[in-house]
Protein backbone atom coordinates (compact mmCIF):
# COMPACT_ATOMS: atom_id res chain seq x y z
CA UNK A 1 0.00 0.00 0.00
CA UNK A 2 1.13 3.59 -0.40
CA UNK A 3 0.38 4.51 3.21
CA UNK A 4 3.81 5.94 3.91
CA UNK A 5 3.94 8.24 0.83
CA UNK A 6 3.44 12.00 1.13
CA UNK A 7 -0.03 13.22 0.12
CA UNK A 8 0.36 15.46 -2.94
CA UNK A 9 -0.26 19.15 -2.31
CA UNK A 10 -3.17 19.44 -4.77
CA UNK A 11 -4.91 16.56 -3.02
CA UNK A 12 -4.33 18.18 0.38
CA UNK A 13 -5.93 21.37 -0.94
CA UNK A 14 -8.92 19.68 -2.53
CA UNK A 15 -9.52 17.44 0.49
CA UNK A 16 -9.64 20.40 2.89
CA UNK A 17 -13.36 21.15 2.95
CA UNK A 18 -13.19 24.22 5.14
CA UNK A 19 -10.43 25.80 3.08
CA UNK A 20 -12.54 25.25 -0.03
CA UNK A 21 -15.55 26.82 1.69
CA UNK A 22 -13.44 29.80 2.75
CA UNK A 23 -12.10 30.32 -0.79
CA UNK A 24 -15.57 29.82 -2.29
CA UNK A 25 -16.93 32.64 -0.19
CA UNK A 26 -13.93 34.98 -0.10
CA UNK A 27 -12.90 34.97 -3.76
CA UNK A 28 -16.31 36.08 -5.15
CA UNK A 29 -16.72 38.49 -2.25
CA UNK A 30 -13.44 40.21 -3.05
CA UNK A 31 -13.50 40.05 -6.83
CA UNK A 32 -17.16 40.97 -7.30
CA UNK A 33 -18.56 42.69 -4.23
CA UNK A 34 -15.53 44.47 -2.81
CA UNK A 35 -14.09 45.50 -6.17
CA UNK A 36 -17.55 46.64 -7.28
CA UNK A 37 -18.05 48.77 -4.18
CA UNK A 38 -14.59 50.30 -4.64
CA UNK A 39 -15.50 51.08 -8.26
CA UNK A 40 -18.69 52.83 -7.18
CA UNK A 41 -17.07 54.76 -4.34
CA UNK A 42 -14.33 56.07 -6.64
CA UNK A 43 -16.67 57.56 -9.26
CA UNK A 44 -15.38 61.10 -9.83
CA UNK A 45 -17.52 64.13 -9.02
CA UNK A 46 -18.98 66.00 -11.99
CA UNK A 47 -17.52 69.42 -12.62
Amino acid sequence: MSDDQQVPLMQQLLDNHFLLLFLGVMVPMLVYTLWGVIDILTIPIAK
Binding site: M1, S2, D3, Q5, V7, P8, M10, Q11, L14, I43, P44, I45, A46, K47
Partner: protein, 179 residues
Protein backbone atom coordinates in the same frame (compact mmCIF):
# COMPACT_ATOMS: atom_id res chain seq x y z
CA UNK B 1 -17.76 3.31 -8.32
CA UNK B 2 -19.88 5.88 -6.53
CA UNK B 3 -19.45 9.60 -6.17
CA UNK B 4 -20.54 9.62 -2.55
CA UNK B 5 -18.12 7.01 -1.22
CA UNK B 6 -14.51 7.98 -0.38
CA UNK B 7 -12.02 7.29 -3.22
CA UNK B 8 -10.76 3.73 -3.37
CA UNK B 9 -7.13 4.83 -3.53
CA UNK B 10 -5.81 6.87 -0.57
CA UNK B 11 -3.62 8.92 -2.91
CA UNK B 12 -6.41 9.50 -5.44
CA UNK B 13 -4.59 12.48 -6.97
CA UNK B 14 -2.08 10.13 -8.50
CA UNK B 15 -4.71 8.25 -10.49
CA UNK B 16 -4.06 9.14 -14.15
CA UNK B 17 -6.63 11.45 -15.76
CA UNK B 18 -9.11 9.64 -17.96
CA UNK B 19 -8.76 10.63 -21.65
CA UNK B 20 -12.42 11.58 -22.04
CA UNK B 21 -12.33 13.68 -18.87
CA UNK B 22 -9.15 15.39 -20.06
CA UNK B 23 -10.65 16.18 -23.46
CA UNK B 24 -13.82 17.50 -21.82
CA UNK B 25 -11.80 19.82 -19.58
CA UNK B 26 -9.78 21.14 -22.52
CA UNK B 27 -12.85 21.79 -24.67
CA UNK B 28 -14.69 23.56 -21.84
CA UNK B 29 -11.63 25.67 -21.01
CA UNK B 30 -11.03 26.68 -24.64
CA UNK B 31 -14.69 27.71 -24.98
CA UNK B 32 -14.46 29.79 -21.80
CA UNK B 33 -11.45 31.60 -23.24
CA UNK B 34 -13.33 32.21 -26.51
CA UNK B 35 -16.28 33.72 -24.64
CA UNK B 36 -13.95 35.91 -22.58
CA UNK B 37 -12.26 37.16 -25.75
CA UNK B 38 -15.71 37.87 -27.21
CA UNK B 39 -16.43 40.23 -24.30
CA UNK B 40 -13.43 42.30 -25.26
CA UNK B 41 -14.20 41.93 -28.96
CA UNK B 42 -17.81 43.07 -28.67
CA UNK B 43 -16.74 46.09 -26.69
CA UNK B 44 -14.29 47.15 -29.40
CA UNK B 45 -16.12 46.10 -32.57
CA UNK B 46 -19.74 45.79 -31.44
CA UNK B 47 -22.39 48.49 -31.48
CA UNK B 48 -24.08 47.78 -28.17
CA UNK B 49 -21.50 47.49 -25.39
CA UNK B 50 -20.52 51.08 -24.91
CA UNK B 51 -17.93 52.69 -22.68
CA UNK B 52 -19.25 55.72 -20.87
CA UNK B 53 -17.60 58.16 -18.58
CA UNK B 54 -19.45 58.31 -15.31
CA UNK B 55 -19.56 61.13 -12.78
CA UNK B 56 -21.36 61.70 -9.51
CA UNK B 57 -23.61 64.70 -9.82
CA UNK B 58 -26.58 66.43 -8.23
CA UNK B 59 -29.91 67.46 -9.70
CA UNK B 60 -29.13 71.14 -9.21
CA UNK B 61 -25.68 71.03 -10.78
CA UNK B 62 -26.86 69.06 -13.79
CA UNK B 63 -30.07 71.07 -14.41
CA UNK B 64 -28.00 74.23 -14.35
CA UNK B 65 -25.81 72.85 -17.14
CA UNK B 66 -28.80 71.59 -19.12
CA UNK B 67 -30.68 74.85 -18.69
CA UNK B 68 -27.62 76.85 -19.80
CA UNK B 69 -27.47 74.81 -23.01
CA UNK B 70 -31.21 75.26 -23.60
CA UNK B 71 -30.99 79.01 -22.95
CA UNK B 72 -28.19 79.43 -25.49
CA UNK B 73 -29.23 77.13 -28.30
CA UNK B 74 -33.03 76.82 -28.41
CA UNK B 75 -34.36 77.17 -31.95
CA UNK B 76 -38.06 76.48 -31.43
CA UNK B 77 -40.52 74.57 -29.26
CA UNK B 78 -42.40 71.43 -30.16
CA UNK B 79 -45.23 69.23 -28.88
CA UNK B 80 -48.03 70.35 -26.64
CA UNK B 81 -45.64 70.13 -23.69
CA UNK B 82 -43.64 72.98 -25.29
CA UNK B 83 -40.35 71.10 -25.16
CA UNK B 84 -37.47 73.24 -26.47
CA UNK B 85 -35.61 72.03 -29.55
CA UNK B 86 -31.94 72.72 -29.03
CA UNK B 87 -29.30 72.96 -31.77
CA UNK B 88 -25.93 72.92 -29.96
CA UNK B 89 -22.64 73.51 -31.80
CA UNK B 90 -20.70 70.50 -33.12
CA UNK B 91 -18.17 69.06 -30.68
CA UNK B 92 -19.93 70.47 -27.63
CA UNK B 93 -21.43 68.89 -24.54
CA UNK B 94 -25.14 68.22 -24.94
CA UNK B 95 -27.37 67.46 -22.00
CA UNK B 96 -30.43 65.26 -21.87
CA UNK B 97 -32.61 65.09 -18.78
CA UNK B 98 -34.80 62.11 -18.04
CA UNK B 99 -37.63 62.76 -15.65
CA UNK B 100 -41.15 61.59 -14.98
CA UNK B 101 -42.27 61.34 -17.69
CA UNK B 102 -40.40 62.93 -20.55
CA UNK B 103 -37.00 63.46 -22.17
CA UNK B 104 -35.96 67.08 -22.09
CA UNK B 105 -34.96 68.85 -24.31
CA UNK B 106 -35.24 67.70 -27.92
CA UNK B 107 -31.79 67.66 -29.48
CA UNK B 108 -31.08 68.63 -33.07
CA UNK B 109 -27.67 67.30 -34.03
CA UNK B 110 -25.62 67.43 -37.22
CA UNK B 111 -24.65 64.33 -39.16
CA UNK B 112 -21.01 63.20 -38.86
CA UNK B 113 -20.26 65.63 -36.04
CA UNK B 114 -19.21 64.37 -32.62
CA UNK B 115 -20.93 65.44 -29.41
CA UNK B 116 -20.53 64.50 -25.76
CA UNK B 117 -23.99 63.40 -24.71
CA UNK B 118 -24.69 63.67 -20.98
CA UNK B 119 -27.49 61.68 -19.39
CA UNK B 120 -29.01 61.81 -15.96
CA UNK B 121 -32.35 61.43 -14.25
CA UNK B 122 -34.09 63.88 -11.99
CA UNK B 123 -35.99 61.25 -10.05
CA UNK B 124 -35.95 57.48 -10.64
CA UNK B 125 -34.05 55.09 -12.86
CA UNK B 126 -34.95 55.47 -16.53
CA UNK B 127 -33.68 53.70 -19.60
CA UNK B 128 -32.39 55.66 -22.57
CA UNK B 129 -33.22 53.61 -25.65
CA UNK B 130 -32.48 55.19 -29.01
CA UNK B 131 -34.63 53.66 -31.70
CA UNK B 132 -34.40 52.20 -34.29
CA UNK B 133 -30.60 52.11 -33.74
CA UNK B 134 -31.21 50.34 -30.42
CA UNK B 135 -28.58 51.92 -28.27
CA UNK B 136 -29.48 51.46 -24.61
CA UNK B 137 -28.05 53.13 -21.55
CA UNK B 138 -29.36 53.13 -17.99
CA UNK B 139 -30.07 56.63 -16.70
CA UNK B 140 -29.59 56.85 -12.97
CA UNK B 141 -30.36 59.73 -10.57
CA UNK B 142 -27.30 61.13 -8.87
CA UNK B 143 -24.97 59.93 -11.62
CA UNK B 144 -24.11 61.38 -14.98
CA UNK B 145 -23.15 59.19 -17.92
CA UNK B 146 -21.23 60.84 -20.74
CA UNK B 147 -21.00 59.18 -24.10
CA UNK B 148 -19.36 60.34 -27.32
CA UNK B 149 -21.87 60.18 -30.16
CA UNK B 150 -21.33 60.78 -33.84
CA UNK B 151 -24.63 60.50 -35.73
CA UNK B 152 -23.94 58.83 -39.04
CA UNK B 153 -27.48 58.87 -40.37
CA UNK B 154 -29.81 61.82 -40.87
CA UNK B 155 -33.42 61.63 -39.79
CA UNK B 156 -35.61 61.52 -36.73
CA UNK B 157 -34.78 59.07 -33.97
CA UNK B 158 -37.00 58.29 -31.04
CA UNK B 159 -35.93 57.87 -27.46
CA UNK B 160 -38.08 55.55 -25.44
CA UNK B 161 -37.77 54.79 -21.78
CA UNK B 162 -36.98 51.14 -21.26
CA UNK B 163 -36.75 51.06 -17.48
CA UNK B 164 -40.14 50.97 -15.78
CA UNK B 165 -40.63 54.24 -13.97
CA UNK B 166 -44.29 54.43 -13.04
CA UNK B 167 -47.65 55.08 -14.57
CA UNK B 168 -46.41 57.34 -17.38
CA UNK B 169 -43.59 55.05 -18.39
CA UNK B 170 -45.26 53.80 -21.58
CA UNK B 171 -45.70 57.37 -22.81
CA UNK B 172 -42.20 58.50 -21.99
CA UNK B 173 -40.90 59.06 -25.48
CA UNK B 174 -38.59 61.73 -26.81
CA UNK B 175 -36.85 62.41 -30.05
CA UNK B 176 -33.55 63.42 -31.57
CA UNK B 177 -33.28 65.08 -34.97
CA UNK B 178 -30.18 64.61 -37.08
CA UNK B 179 -29.79 67.01 -39.95
Amino acid sequence: MSAILPPADRLWWKQPLDRVEGTWIVIAFVWCMVMFAMMVGWHIYGKQNLSTETYKTTRELYSAKAQAMVDRYTVRKETDKEIPVVHPPAGSDVYLVARLWDWWPILELEKDKTYRLHLTSMDYNHGFSLQPVNINIQVVPGYEHVIKVTPNQAGTFSIICNEYCGIGHANMAGRIYVK
